[in-house]
Subunit: 213 residues, 3 copies
């Protein structure tokens, strides 16, 4: 790869891979996994969402087969992290940061790729949301946690949804691609962090009368 | 899409999408999910089985990317349903109907597509069964239920199996495609409903002597 | 298929399918599944890993669609096994053998196919490991066991990793393909069996001070 060929979306993708790999590693450390387990969780978190997206869009070779250095980076991240298990456990309370960052980066990268492949607006945003959430879902399922997306909790997938449509809107008013990506990624990440901080949930009718839970 | 181009198999597919979306929504409501959760479960239930089928048969674009109005329909179904949470919870006892309907519709549509793609008879029926059961399996796994197909219970996958082979048999004696589909779908759905009503199980040797459970 | 066309890698693949089908059937029997359940678990164990590999490498048709007799063999294995449920339950203590055998056979076959498709060394070995472990992971998830690969336990994925790199090394020094496969499969299987027998685990720093568990 010549440096001149590196596009902004490649940088976003690389950052997203690292963010979700870190998420997977910390989740795995909670379960006291050994280095192979850490790598397996990191790998599925970092590549799960994008793999689904590429298969759906029939993009071959898959992004991590084409950019095989991604897998090497994740491998060494897991090996490196495995030397500092106590540090990892302490990092659990900061888990929301790689999660929010990965969500935003993946969601917009997914939307961009789906648009390039000629998908409709709704499908593009949907694939963005899928790409942005699926890695975390896989890591959570492996580690036996109920995935955030399926819990009644602070808005999560909704942030990616908003970010995806914001990107499409900014592009529709002819903003440059990179600027549109940067803005919509930032909005997604900040929205998610605010949602966690201020416990923003979706308005919802109650399932039972007087249901307080 | 021109109306004249709509084939019977398209109608079957649309009905199947709606049936499994409803199944997913009711399952999600049991877990008190918010509107995003309901949509996520409905989406995976409605499109999971067909996605596996399309990937296996290398049919690109995937059926729900090509017919992107399917995703919009599922989205609005979930939004609409989220306004009536108590009603959804009451619907749980009727869950067997969308489940049986989706099973029959998907199983036969899956068999038809696999035949068109030139798969062998056994593989065609198998893909029909996969398509017909996988959506429910995904919804159940998400909602932390043991999927019906893996439980020792009333015949389920077997109904789809019978329906698939019935379709192939009817086609072999030169019955028109639409008639063969209609008959085999009906048989599958009715068989499943009878299985639930009369607790039809497969004959089975006991795992332990005097095993009553 | 003419007999003359059968390559060594085809024999390895067939043996791997049978080994993992047996693994799936015994795991299913533990959960007292009926014949359909046994088939479903055997099917996912036998074909899960290879399906992921083929989708990643864009090898179409999938290996079990092209060789549709594989599915028929697994079907009759499950039907046959369902007549001897008590025997299956007794076989549980020998589960390590089909598991180790399937791991070795699948891992090397996966590495070979990835090399043929032009993947990098690391990706090839990784896909070998994925192919060798994913079937067992699926069967374990279905049967509600924590998959071996994610547990802190005797080395498992590591054996496949060693075997895959051994294969590449032997090929690099110009050993014939079949000999390289035979040696690296044997090493993988024996290593795994030794790991179980002598409780070989990866060296690991402790998660907590004085952590004994």
């Amino acid at each position: 790869m010549h440096f001149a060929e590196v596009e902004f979306v490649d940088i976003v993708e690389f950052a997203a891979v690292v963010a979700f790999a870190v998420y997977g590693i910390i989740r795995g450390a909670e379960r006291k996994m050994d280095v192979v387990g850490l790598f397996a969780v990191a790998f599925m978190a970092a590549f799960g969402g994008g793999t689904v997206r590429d298969l759906v869009l029939n993009r071959q070779p898959l992004f991590w087969v084409e950019n095989s250095h991604y897998t090497v980076v994740v491998f060494w991240l897991a090996v490196f992290a495995s030397f500092f298990p106590r540090l990892l456990v302490k990092c659990e309370k900061y888990l929301v940061f790689p999660d929010a960052l990965g969500l935003g980066l993946w969601a917009i990268a997914g939307t961009v790729y789906a648009q390039e492949a000629g998908a409709s607006s709704f499908i593009s945003v949907l694939l963005g949301v899928t790409t942005g959430t699926f890695g975390g879902v896989l890591a959570d399922i492996i580690c036996n946690k109920v995935p955030t997306i399926f819990r009644k909790s602070n808005i999560y997938a909704t942030c990616a949804f908003v970010g995806g449509y914001l990107y499409l809107g900014l592009r529709a008013i002819d903003l440059a691609e990179n600027a549109a990506m940067l803005i919509s990624i930032t909005v997604t990440v900040v929205l998610r962090l605010l949602a966690v901080r201020y416990k923003i949930i979706l308005p919802q009718r109650e399932y039972y009368e007087g249901d307080e839970k």
